[in-house]
Symmetry: C2
């Protein structure tokens, strides 16, 4: 075997991903050395409690509660603790000491990304975070490197596996929202506190990271319009099915241009997708991301969106790259200079809508409602009226592309109108 230079690797965190990373580092030593040109020596694993149960058994002597000491003198620090503090302080300490950092911490990057990239640039260290978005699916590196000479127009996809699992179960097995959520909890798709997933925070963090990278601009969580799936009912899923569509929680990052002014829209919401769209067949906990670039055209990346060992694959890819950089010499390639493009308010986006209304089954009602759309300047594309169970009529209106603000003004007037008994749902229609 070739003599390889030794690199000291510190691992912070031994949860479902961290324990798999440790296991792969220990069991694939030789292969990793061949790939990276360096012997990756796992110096220690910082944990809160050395006696806590782990997914994978780890050598007791590597476990420590003293993360600070472990970081000192390390060449590569892998941060898989999650949360903001103490992860942020440890990452900054690692970078300041000149170590390369590999992290899967989306919350940290979505809130303190700029601070962390600046710290890395100052010492010529690198921060890699392929594991932070869409687990093992290579998406960060394609955006950062492969498409570096292109102009990204739009990113569009399913980046949260838990909510996709729930929506998929509701669609394909007719479960209620509550049943699907219970199943997701039982199978470990949802945490004890499911708010991060269900309310779209997790997807919004990923969207902020993707948008920052794709548009070379500073996007944080506050810039992301976020709606979760807690209002999505079995009735809406059923209505979508009848219309040949499926409801998916989408993350959309878009470059807008109006009157020569450029802006960025980053948003997460449940939306309708036609059944023949590739995203409609993303089932279970999988993720899929479309990237549309000016020269490359549309590209799609698909794979598992979560899982300890899958995410560990992404972490190790970053570790090998960081090790190669150490061996090759030279400074780390920082993030591209960050512009500050303005973010567009949700009211300015253009998309299509499906509005479902419960209306009185009386003469003139359709005319009144059509009039409200016309007055509001939104063009109606499709109308479908069916009889409800209790004598009322259900009216499903699909619009042409319209501005969100115009549509919500109309919805407010519909809700106030005597012709409408109930606005059952308003969903955006994406993917065309």
């Amino acid at each position: 075997m070739i003599e390889h230079r030794k690199l000291r690797v510190a691992l912070l965190g031994a949860g479902s991903v961290g324990s798999q990373v440790a296991n792969l580092l220990l069991t694939h030593r030789e292969e990793l050395a061949e790939r990276s040109g360096a012997e990756l020596e796992l110096a220690g694993i910082a944990v809160r409690d050395v006696d806590a149960p782990r997914d994978v058994e780890l050598p007791r002597e590597l476990l420590t509660t003293d993360a600070e000491s472990l970081i000192v003198g390390s060449d590569i620090v892998i941060e898989l603790m999650g949360g903001i503090e103490p992860a942020r302080s440890y990452v900054l300490a690692a970078l300041t000491s000149g170590a390369d950092v590999v992290t899967g911490n989306k919350a940290l990057l979505a809130t303190h990304g700029a601070e962390i990239f600046d710290a890395a640039d100052q010492v010529g260290a690198s921060v890699s975070y392929e594991a932070a978005v869409a687990a093992a699916i290579p998406i960060i590196r394609p955006l950062k490197d492969s498409l570096a000479g292109d102009r990204i127009q739009r990113i569009f996809g399913i980046v949260n596996g838990s909510t996709n699992f729930i929506l998929d179960k509701m669609d394909r097995e007719g479960l209620s929202a509550q049943e699907a959520q219970q199943l997701a909890t039982d199978l470990g798709y949802l945490e004890a506190d499911p708010t991060l997933d269900l309310e779209g925070y997790d997807a919004a963090q990923k969207a902020a990271i993707l948008a920052s990278l794709a548009f070379h601009t500073k996007i944080s969580m506050d810039d992301v319009h976020r709606e979760g799936i807690s209002n999505v009912t079995a009735e809406m899923i059923e209505g979508a099915r009848k219309a040949g569509s499926v409801v998916k929680l989408l993350a959309i990052c878009e470059r807008l241009e109006e009157d020569g002014e450029e802006s960025i829209s980053v948003r997460v919401y449940p939306a309708l997708i036609g059944r023949d769209h590739p995203l409609a067949s993303v089932h279970g906990g999988n993720n899929a991301v479309f990237v549309e670039a000016a020269a490359a055209g549309p590209l799609m990346f698909y794979g598992a969106g979560a899982g300890g060992v899958q995410t560990a694959s992404a972490v190790l890819g970053d570790v090998v790259s960081a090790a190669r950089r150490h061996i090759a010499g030279g400074v780390g390639v920082g993030e591209s200079p960050r512009m500050s493009l303005p973010t567009s308010p949700i009211g300015r986006i253009l998309t299509r809508y499906q509005v479902r209304l419960e209306v009185a089954d009386e003469p003139g009602v359709l005319a009144t409602i059509a009039g409200l759309f016309a007055d509001g300047g939104v063009s109606v594309a499709t109308v479908d009226q069916t009889q409800g169970d209790e004598g009322q009529a259900m009216l499903v209106i699909g619009t042409h592309r319209a501005r969100e603000q115009a549509l919500s003004d109309i919805v407010a007037r519909l809700a106030a109108s005597d012709a409408v008994e109930r606005v059952a749902s308003v969903l955006r229609m994406e993917g065309e």
Copy 2:
């Protein structure tokens, strides 16, 4: 504007990809400088004939027929001439002079890859070739970097857009092979000499490149089992449709393990894919590649498989990465050490088969044929017998997974049997 260091870029070739690369380098100077940290100065474009018509108009003063002089003193050399010579000599000259090379030349890499990577490693220069496989779809970088810490088991996909266009037209519009081929020629999907595409050479070159990278071993064109689509008839496509399948030209790179011995199988052939498989909905000239890794699980990459501007996007991504490396300092990261895993002969692969036979409609024929399969040790999964137009019967037999050698022995015996009038087709069934 920030002062950027200047890097001298030489472009060899101004065909459909080269002219787009030149155009993007000239028109996106500022954005490329921001991304790469270097001003990319296009020093010249080497062409065979400065007066030849181009897809994009290029500044006359940049065109030269003297590639050798252009290469001297360049930091980055982009080779988009195609063919083996003089491309090979120019690439070696560029590397020897310390320049980084970006190439889209799959024929060159599939035949002289090892020589070129060795030359690069000796001087610490880099060779990038994202454009050589699947145009703008990032596949090289994910294999080389993102999955560097994982173990790739299998690559499986559609990597030739022209043949996919033809097969797709036959399937979806019922064209004959000849009609579809004519249409592909008219629309520019096929070259004047279509053999490279139709006979699977292009796909085999890409398969050799992908397998070399994925399995860190030396695979050249000679190691690839290759069958093109020239034997695929409208009748076969029709038969596939009836069986709920579609015919696709697949490239498959697979790690095999038997009795503790590892080997690699790399093969290109038309095969049946079930209509519900994601590859079945890859239409027109698009490409899609599945990568299955031990930890990451299955990943899919999808996008345009050809096109001047699409491929130019991949070239520019590589150029920006090479420029970043120049700015950061340090040596280029070479290809991983190349092992020499043996390649497995086609007879040893395991897959499922569909055999279509024209048989005499007589008592005992089915028993005879079933007996031949049983004697050969191949288990029959499905049998479908229909009446032909001229009194004969058409028998379609689907097998369970079997070894190719066993199957071809049976096919030879079927062809020689009195019970069989004609072996209409034998197709492998993939994707399960």
